[in-house]
Amino acid sequence: MTTVLEVKDLKAYYGQTQALHGVSFELLEGGITTLLGANGAGKTTTLRAICNMVRTEGDVVFQGRSIRGQATESIVRLGFAHVPEGRGTFTTLTVDENLRIAAYTRSDKAAVKRDLDMVFEYFPRLRERIQQQAGTLSGGEQQMLAISRALMLGPRVMLLDEPSFGLAPLIVQEIFRIMRRINTEAKCSMLLVEQNAALALDLADHAYVLETGRVVMSGPSDVVKNDENIRKSYLGY
């Protein structure tokens, strides 16, 4: 398998405060890599740094080309879909309008239509709510909408920021099951940030553990999952 995304010695700053101190990792084509770690470890910042939403140093290489320093909207057009922390629902717009916005950058109407059908096949509940104001959806439905919106971009890489956040366990399971399907069927590589390590390790093939802006541990998910030391020291379960 080839590497689709390579992050090299990435540093990120919020004003004067440095949040990432040289993070490096890779994401394989068609793979799922997860970034684990406690609050404030720099997981969300890493995703934001890839999309150039914060000030960065280091390098981000996508399909062999550096994309660091490009505007967020250009990076998105290259094939990145960022599902932001807290879902980023356009609350006053309808479900339909939320999905149409995702097709903003695309001109191929037939492909958009096909993707819309695909999204509704994954999340039939959204079809039932198509004309509903998105802010009135439940938390789980808004997360489904956020993932659907990302899918409508026709991405090569999905950056998912805590899709399990604040959701009931049953809903989380459903969403993770569908993420697995999206990964294989839509041939979309995923970079998954999660607090729920057990869940993330089940889905991902590779894991990196972050602590205060540095990678402290990495390896195939199975290895990380079964290493009791890592589990106790960093993942807390």
Binding site: C51, M53, A71, T72, E73, V76, R77, A81, H82, V83, P84, G88, T89, F90, T91, T92, L93, T94, D96, E97, R100, I101, A102, Y104, T105, R127, E128, I130, Q131, R149, A150, L153
Partner: protein, 359 residues
């Protein structure tokens, strides 16, 4: 049997949902909008049927309402639909008014082609608004409110500046002529002005409607709802915000240019901070993020300013209350009541009432 019935109904709904194309919201202009436009067009013609039913003065007041409505519409594009607050739209109104006034005053043939001041003011204010929108990108919420507030304070002073006095007439302002009806139409100046402003308002309304219902409108509203998420949808949010600032300023500038023609006079002190605030009041009272609400808001600002005075006299003389209410106090009380009764603005209140009536 009830269960099978509901199951069948649910199945039917599901099938319908599965086959139905998602309908685009607000695909067409609502019929009542056309009705209002039609009524507005025949209003001055009533005098041929019943003389004296609508005086020139009344028409003039309605004209000023429509001018205010255009200005509020502009502010709504920025604040209501794009989420950028402005306490300084009076400044763009002033720039539009002075652009028109200076053209009419300094170019000898311009008074015959007074309608050219409209595109000129629009372009001028678009540029000014766009340029102001660039630094405004770095400001949000309270900070943007303060920056635009500064603009509202600065522009009237700038108009008095002595190096500009040759153009702007300084504190004295510029006295103009009202446009006269073309082609020898049997209309008075005020009637002609009414039609002139009405046509422009309707045109601007439909332009705004068309901007908002398409992908550009969705992008504007997405930025308002969640800018970071809008970024991740591939929307060039900086570009949208500055262009929206420009378009919004152009709308309000057109209103200013129309007011210069309608009142036939411009002076720096008519564009003070109170103008900016009354536009904001019109926006909130009419309905934030509502096109029809902008029109209502425009009507409201003029109506209340005119009637607060009368109402305060009425309270003192006719009700015989033992205290004085100033016109501003009446204005304030009216605002408080309105915000309490209709927190979503008049347009929102009407929609809520309509829904309740229909059950």
């Amino acid at each position: 049997m009830a269960t099978t019935e509901t199951a069948a109904a649910a199945d039917a709904v599901a099938r319908q949902a599965a086959t139905a194309e998602p309908p685009a919201r607000a695909a067409a202009v609502k019929p009542w909008v056309w009705a209002v436009v039609a009524v507005a067009f025949v209003l001055p013609l009533l005098k041929f049927v019943i003389p004296g039913v609508i005086s020139d003065y009344r028409l003039f007041v309605i004209s000023t309402m429509m001018i205010a409505a255009i200005a509020v519409l502009g502010l709504n594009l920025l604040t209501g639909f794009n989420g950028q607050i402005s306490l300084g739209h009076g400044a763009f109104y002033a720039v539009g008014a002075y652009t028109a006034a200076v053209m009419l005053d300094k170019i000898s043939w311009m008074p015959d082609y007074y309608f050219l001041t409209i595109p000129a003011a629009a372009v001028m204010c678009f540029v000014v608004g766009y340029l102001f929108g660039l630094p405004a990108l770095r400001l949000e919420g309270h900070y943007l409110a303060l920056a635009t507030f500064a603009l509202a304070l600065a522009v009237p002073q700038l108009l008095k500046y002595k190096w500009l006095e040759g153009l702007t007439g300084g504190v004295q302002g510029v006295v103009l002529l009202k446009p006269s009806p073309p082609f020898g139409l049997p209309l008075s100046e005020d009637q002609w002005l009414y039609y002139y402003i009405l046509v422009i308002m309707v045109a601007l309304y439909f332009i705004a409607f068309n901007i908002l219902r398409g992908r550009n409108g969705r992008a504007m509203m997405a930025i308002r709802d969640h800018q970071m998420a809008a970024d991740t949808m591939g929307i060039d949010t900086a570009q949208y915000k500055t262009v929206t600032f420009g378009i919004s300023a152009a709308y309000t500038g057109i209103a200013g240019a129309l007011s210069a023609s309608a009142i036939a006079y411009v002076a720096p002190d008519s564009f003070g901070f109170f103008l900016s605030i009354s536009l904001l009041i019109g926006l909130v009272v009419g309905g934030v993020a509502s096109l029809a609400g902008s029109i209502i808001g425009g009507v409201f600002t003029v109506l209340v300013q005119n009637s607060a005075q009368a109402l305060s006299k009425f309270v003192k003389n006719d009700l015989g209350l033992p205290f004085d209410l100033s016109a501003y106090a009446v204005y304030g009380i009216l605002l408080l009541i309105l915000m309490y009764v209709m927190p979503l603005g008049i347009a929102g209140g009407i929609v809520m009432a309509w829904r309740r009536l229909r059950g």
